[in-house]
Every structure is written in C-alpha cells, then in structure tokens.
Symmetry: C2
C-alpha cells in the first residue's frame, strides 16, 4: 500500500499471500458478541478472539508466515528470538511445524506461563539476564554459533503481513464494521491490521489502545517521530515494546487515533471478558474493550458514529496465580 508516496513493509498482496501460506496451520478464530457488552458500551461490539489462536495469541500468524517464508537452506539452521512473550511461543510452534530448531533467549525473570508455553511447543530455552543488553548479547552468540535467522517480533514485513490476516478474516466475518480497535505495542499487529483493513475498506477507522504507563505510541503520534520511554509501568506486560522503523510509518499514516487507558480500566475490562464474554484474556488482550469503555473514547465527538466496532482480543496467556492476585486488589 502506498500513502503519500510511502511504501510500507507489507501491503494487501503480501498479506493475502501470507494468508494462503498459513491458512492450513492457523485457527480461523471466531468472532463473539454480547448484548450485555453492547448495552454497556452503547455500540455493537465484535470480538475477534485471537486468544484462541494456536499458542494463545495472534503472534502465531506472523511467526508461521515468517518461518514458512524462509528458503530451505536458511530454515535448516533454525530461528532465534529474544522476545520472552507470546512471539517466543509462537515462533517455537511455527519452527516445530517446519521441523527446524527455535532458539529462544529468555530473561530469568520472565513469567512462568510464557516459559512453559515455549517449552510446550519445543523451543530451546537459552537463559539470559533481565537486561536488554544481556538478551541481545546472548542472542548474538546463538546466531554466531548456529547460523540461525533472527526473527524480530514486529519490525519485519513477514511478521506484519501475517498479523494482517486478522483483518481479512474479520472483515469477511463482520463486513459491516466501521472501526477496529487494536492493542498497540511494537506496532506489528496494528500495522498488519490497518494495512489490510484500509485496503479492503478505505473508510474504516483503525484505533490503537495503549496503556498510559507505556504510551510511547501516543507520544510518537503527537511528536511526529518515534519516541521511546526510559521506563514503562503497566499491568499489560505484552504492551511494553516501542515502535520500530517499519511499524512507525504505518502507525503514523494509517492509525486514526490512539486511546490511552489506565491499568485499572484494563483490569475492569479483563473482568468483563471473564464474567460476561467467558473468554480468558491477558491484560494486553483486554485493552481494546477498556478503550471502547473509556471516558476518552465515549466523550470524543470524533468517535460518536463508531457503531460497529471490531475489537481484537489479542491473547490469553496469563499466570492464573498472578491474575487472581490482580483481581483481589
């Protein structure tokens, strides 16, 4: 797709190709709706349940597209990542499908359930210290020793194309959507979703949902350039990354607005997902619902005609013990 003469890292063709490539392996996730949540929000909400995706998050779409795009010689040496989140589990699973090794560099303080997911899917865990420096140096060592391919969790056209397949399914399942709300972190998910959705329906609005405590995307949009933060502070552990060189141009040009929400709004939305929708989401996964229920969105006259709103429930990987404690607060 080109806007203002800009060529992005993915486009509708690469996204359609990705869909053809991965369709035998992914779940076509269902779209759920709830009249109770429609009444609470005053809109028609359509929840795209990527928490039911293989690996428990949308990440498998991008990871499987990237792994299946490698030529045989490249693939044989395996893949590496130093993400400790859902991308790591997804990459492990995608590599397992192709029968190649996945080397996953994980900091010692990573959540237990995410480490277990990597192991369940056959990823080889290589421990590092918690600092980004340690993670990168351990990953470099693995790359040198194995000749494997580093697959970045979001700053990669193949990953962005894979995530964009969500829009192809969602707009087929609910053609009347006028808005899609998507969690934003590094921007891989929303870039893919925006590129595909605006190509299918140029009038559709794409809104990002971001935690106040990790609002680098909102600051970046306001400044007109990538802003990173010295630190982040949010319950949504999947939303702490910063925009990359390939995702920023898409976010800059195609994301209509960024709605920031407080952690307590995320937890309340998560509770509604469990109690009303009966879907087990992680905090990052619930942020789209938090956004549509937030005062900032409700009171903004620009979004009053958002009637049929798609919400991407991006993932469901959470330590139940940690979750119980959060709800108790």
């Amino acid at each position: 797709m080109e806007v203002k003469g800009e060529t992005y890292a993915a486009n509708i063709s690469s996204i359609r190709e990705a869909h053809k490539r991965i369709i035998p392996y992914i779940h076509k996730t269902p779209v759920l709706s709830s009249e109770s949540l429609n009444a609470i929000s005053g809109r028609n909400l359509f929840f795209k349940c990527e928490c039911f995706q293989k690996g428990g998050a949308f990440k498998f779409r991008g990871a499987s597209n990237a792994v299946l795009s490698l030529d045989d010689d490249q693939a044989a040496k395996g893949v590496v990542t130093h993400s400790s989140g859902n991308h790591a589990a997804a990459l492990s699973l995608a590599a397992k499908l192709r029968g190649i090794p996945a080397y996953i560099v994980i900091p010692k303080n990573a959540p237990k359930c995410k480490v277990e997911n990597v192991m369940r899917y056959g990823g080889q865990v290589i421990w590092s210290e918690a600092t980004i420096q340690s993670r990168e140096s351990v990953a470099s060592k693995v790359l040198q020793e194995t000749g494997a391919v580093l697959l970045h969790p979001y700053n990669d056209g193949r990953i962005i194309s894979g995530q964009g397949t969500i829009s192809l399914e969602l707009l087929e399942q609910v053609p009347q959507l006028d808005t899609i709300i998507v969690p934003i972190s590094g921007g891989g998910l929303i870039s893919g979703v925006a590129l595909a959705a605006k190509s299918v329906n140029p009038a559709i609005r794409i809104l990002a949902a971001e935690p106040v405590g990790a609002n680098d995307a909102a600051q970046s949009k306001a400044a007109g350039r990538i802003i990173t933060l010295p630190e982040t502070n949010t319950v949504a552990d999947g939303l702490r990354a910063f925009l990359g060189s390939l995702t920023w141009p898409v976010v800059r040009d195609l994301v209509d607005d960024i709605i920031t929400v407080e952690d307590k709004e995320i937890m309340e939305a998560m509770r509604l997902c469990y109690e009303i929708l009966k879907v087990a989401v992680e905090p990052s996964g619930a942020i789209g619902l938090a956004a549509v229920l937030s005062g900032g969105f409700r009171k903004n006259i620009a979004w009053q005609d958002c009637k049929n709103v798609g919400i991407v429930l991006s993932g469901g990987n959470v330590d139940l013990g940690v979750l119980w404690d959060s709800f108790r607060k």
Copy 2:
C-alpha cells in the same frame, strides 16, 4: 424417537422445530480445538462452547424454545421458575425477548453472580428460604397470584427439544464425531443431545459426565430406576439435580455410559480450560474434559476407539472470587 416401543418427551422433529424457532435469537456457538489438549488426552477433542451462549450457558436454548412455544394468552401472564441457576437467567432473557414477565424464585443463599444474571436480564426476583419446601411454596403462591406458567428447568419436552439443538449444530460443525460427552444433572441437556445425535448418526456414542459427590444418574443406570440422593457434595453447583420422569427414559436407553469424576479432576479440567483453551467455564462446564482425562475413561477398553470426541462446555457463570479461592486450594 422410539426405542423399545418407548416414546420420549422429544424427538428429532421437535428438536428441528425448536431450532427453527430459536435460531434468530441464539448464538451459534463456535467449536474450539487445541492440539495441546489433544496431546494430553490422546484423542481429537472438539469443544462446543455453550458458555458463549446468551446468558452464559446452554439453558437459553431450552428456555427460549419453551417461551416461544407458549400461545399468546398463556404467555401474557408470564413464566415462573424456582431454579436459581442458569435456567433462571435464561428464562428471564427469553421472557424479556417476548416482552412477558419472568418470576424467579431464588433462595437467599444463591450465588451472587447467578442472581445478578437474573436481574441483568430483567427477571423479577422473589426471595425464598433455602429449603426446597420454601422454594416450592413461594412458587405456588406466585403461580396463584399471577396465572403464570411454571417452566421446569429440565423435565419438559420443550426444554429438552431446545437443548437438543446443540447436536444439530455440533454434528454440522464436526461431522466426524464418534462420541459426545455431556454433563449430566437433571438430564435435560443430555436427553436432547442424545435424541438428536443418535437420530442423525445412530452409531454415535453419548457419554455422561457426573461428579462422584452427586452420582445419582450413575446409580440410577446401575439400578435400572431413578435413584435420588439424601444429599450431594460437589464443587459443580450446576450438577446437583436428579433425573426426572421425562429425562430418565432417555438416559436409561440412549446414554451409553456415565463417567464419574472427583471434584479435584473437575478443578484441574477447569484450570486447563482457562490456561490452554482460554475459555472461562464454570465447574459444571468443565466436567466433560475432566471425564475424558480421567483414569476411568482412559483405561476402559470400551472407549479406546473414541477418537473424535465432542465435549459440551455447558456454561461459564461463576463468581470470580469463589473461583480464585478454589484454585488456591
């Protein structure tokens, strides 16, 4: 359907009619699968997610069929029940759709979330003491005062026919099923599911899952007559009812076996539903997965060729606070 010259309270025709009647109002619930759970169980499992049904449980199918079957004069006076569970919420919602009153007699000790569900759907709560005598006498009084129709939660052909619509959808969604596992309590759900499924595919096996602490159905099958228990003791609060005069003949003739499971197996299955399937089920809803993972099922040579197993996740209404405490144990 007739077996051994027996005519049951519902049959494939009444179930197809029910489906036509309720299809504009119900959710066609999705079927989820998980390779991780397939690996754990050694079977291909297909989860029919009735926890995503309106009202959070399959009960809306039967309740809406019953309410929509009433003639206008009957309907105008409203409906009554003294179930405090998912049937009460479902009946409230069905009555609201038809614009008639629902009088719900609820004992003072009922779980908070179930009372809230009734209120959310517009049911009129009428409190009774916790005893069955008090519930019945309060309900009789309401019937006399209003002329409303009492709708039993399971011992009613219209209710059984509504629940049977699950099989019509499930066998269309997953035609290769050779077995369906269904929670058993009063028997309305399993009667409908068995009547429809065995009519569509006479070779299909229907297995019931029942808590050890409320094993009246297993005892009834063994004795060849309805057995009730002086008391029940199980975490699965939705599975404490006893078979009725209309459900017993179906259970006796069409249910191939009853698998009993311990409460700790139910809680472990529930944890797997949350952690792997990402579906928020109530304990009663998770019992089918508990059954397929139980030693009794795995070791029974009769069920070794159950390869493609449908599991009805019957409901998802649970007090999160109570749930957290259960998981902590």
